[in-house]
Amino acid sequence: MTTVGIVANPAAGRDIRRLVAGASVSGHAEKAGMVFRVLAGLGAAGVTRALMMPAPGGLSATLHRQLRAHAAGQGHEAAPAALEELPMRLDGTAADSIRAVEAMRRAGAAAIVVLGGDGTHRVVAKACADVPVCALSTGTNNVFPELREATVAGLATGLVATGRGGPGALRRDAALRVEVDCAEPDLALVDVAASREPFIGARALWRPGGISDLLVTFANPAAVGLSAVAGMVSPLERGGGRGLHVRLAEAPEAAAITVQVPLAPGLVVPVGVAAWRALATGEQVDLPAAGGSLALDGEREIERRPGARATVRLVAGPLTIDVDAVMRHAATKGLTRLPPRV
């Protein structure tokens, strides 16, 4: 029996960017549809059991309606993987996802499919160790997870889980390890931004003002969000073992260059950059001790008192499934072909 875990964050996609920018919304019906499509893909690839973090009311009801409707259908399609909800209490916070991922690892999950934004993936990465992650975005607002069709993602994850992913199936992504004073270290998968804003407010970061330093694990100029600033000045491939440290200009006059950056969907703003340099794996950066807040993967998370020591180190991150590479390998090797009819 092959088991795959599924984490679908029911709370993803409700932050202030819907108000201040044009960020997309992803309702329960769409998330339930995505889980159903993942199950279909997993089932077709031979995964028999899917362990899911329990979904609250609306998502769960919609998903089970879809599964019942499918069971009563034509029957010529592959059966979806059997869905099993983890027996766990939910408290409606990120800790739910951590506990769910730990339970999936204990249950021997061969891979974990994550549906959510950068924030959800960040939380999963803290707990998944070396269980491969299939990162699926539930909106247009994200950098780490991909916006792609969930059925195919399910197929690719199923091939990896059943040992047929091929040599290029997994990518070792990087992460940024953040330590502030003696607090428990935290992790970011895409970027860490140090802001002079003392308070974290509504969490999602959508204003460039007050940001002094930006550290990224990769720099894609086609991304949306802060990491696109790095992408615009010095593009950097994902999984290449190098990051980037960008210093933003405090005032427009101090900018070496000013780039137009989509900081959120529908929100393109000028950002002044003072300097940038490459960051090697293992290298540590000490952030200015002036106080302020730190944003991890676009969410303001940590308030620093003036004088607090804050360091960021580029480290190895999660193993991520490269869906395109897996599907290319499957096609080349004929893994998706059914036996000839006799």
Partner: protein, 331 residues
């Protein structure tokens, strides 16, 4: 740490922080005192206390002027205080006194002050949103930049009036902000039993305007999101929905036995998430306000509430001759 925020960050000034704290502390002191005084049997009618939810009223109303409107709920003391209603006249009103804000005719559930844009606490669950649409339409027809905010609970958000108001506000492009105070219980029923989905904010999707969720214990989160929603409405951007996740510290009404709560639920939240305690910790950590600044506010507020209760108790009752005054309106 500079006392003023860096430009372009939308951060609060020292004065704004002190005012936010004063409003939250006043509401807390007002409600905690009512909790004690109601038990003596001296207060007529029902009271529904807002304690625990202060960051929402304070964070939202910080962006409103006297000519903007709020339409409140049966749990309306906090909204009235944050909107600038006279605290002593509010207390006298709750005691049913002639000196009250509505001359003792309204009581806790109908406190109103139209001069302050406070359209009233409201005994009808889901009664506020249609009022917000009404004043929103007035603002739009008169081409002013006024904004109308309605407060609704999680229970109220299931009422037809709420959903009809979302529809009208969208169809008529009204400058309305629908604030949902999701305090975990519709009287005694948790949302899992009466709502499909975890977020009331998602209901805005169906009407084509933004709905966002913030932590209702976090003054800074509410303040930032409400500021954007209100600025959007003021600029002609139409309605939006702001769902604030919170918990009330007392029963649905005073006297509620609260058998529906989990063990230690309120104590845990008071210990870890209380809006006043976290505010104090964060502003002092950041070095923007110090303990003395906040203690001065505490002292002023304690004095104000003491005086309000003493004066309310000593105030005159309305006379039988006044039974019809302030009750009927002739246009």
């Amino acid at each position: 740490m500079p006392a003023t925020a860096p430009p372009g960050t939308g951060q609060l000034t020292r004065e704004q922080l002190l005012e936010g704290y004063r409003v939250m502390r006043t509401i807390r002191e007002f409600e905690e005192r009512l909790h004690v005084e109601f038990a003596t049997g001296e207060i007529p009618g029902f009271v529904h206390l807002y304690a625990g939810e202060e960051a929402i009223a304070a964070g939202v109303c910080a962006h409103l002027g006297a000519d903007d409107y709020v339409a409140s709920t049966h749990r309306g003391h906090g909204h009235a205080i944050a909107k600038g209603c006279d605290v002593k006249a509010m207390m006298a009103e709750i005691y049913g006194k002639q000196t009250g804000l509505c001359h003792g005719k309204g009581g806790s559930m109908h406190i109103a002050d139209l001069d302050k844009g406070m359209l009233g606490a409201n005994g009808i669950v889901g009664g506020g949103p249609p009022l917000a649409c009404g004043v929103g339409l007035t603002a739009r027809v008169k081409n002013t930049d006024q904004v109308a905010v309605s407060f609704t609970g999680d229970g109220g958000s299931n009422q037809g009036t709420f959903l009809e108001s979302l529809n009208l506000a969208s169809a008529w492009h009204l400058p309305c902000v629908f604030v949902v105070e999701n305090n975990g219980y519709a009287e005694s029923t948790p949302p899992a039993y009466h709502q499909s989905g975890v977020d009331v904010a998602k209901r805005a999707d169906g009407f084509g305007f933004p709905g966002v969720v913030v932590d209702g214990f976090d003054f800074f989160a509410v303040h930032e999101a409400a500021g954007e929603a209100i600025a959007r409405a003021r600029a002609g951007g139409g309605p939006s929905l702001l769902e604030c996740k919170t918990l009330r510290y007392y029963g649905h009404f005073e006297g509620d036995q609260q058998t529906y709560r989990g063990a230690g639920e309120v104590e845990e939240v008071r210990r870890t998430r209380d809006c006043l305690a976290t505010f104090v910790q964060r502003v002092t950590n950041a070095g923007i306000l110090d303990a003395e600044d906040l203690e001065r506010v505490d002292q002023d507020v304690r004095g104000l509430i003491d005086e309000a209760v003493t004066e309310a108790k000593a105030g005159p009752d309305p006379t039988p001759a006044e039974v019809e005054t302030d009750v009927y309106v002739t246009y």
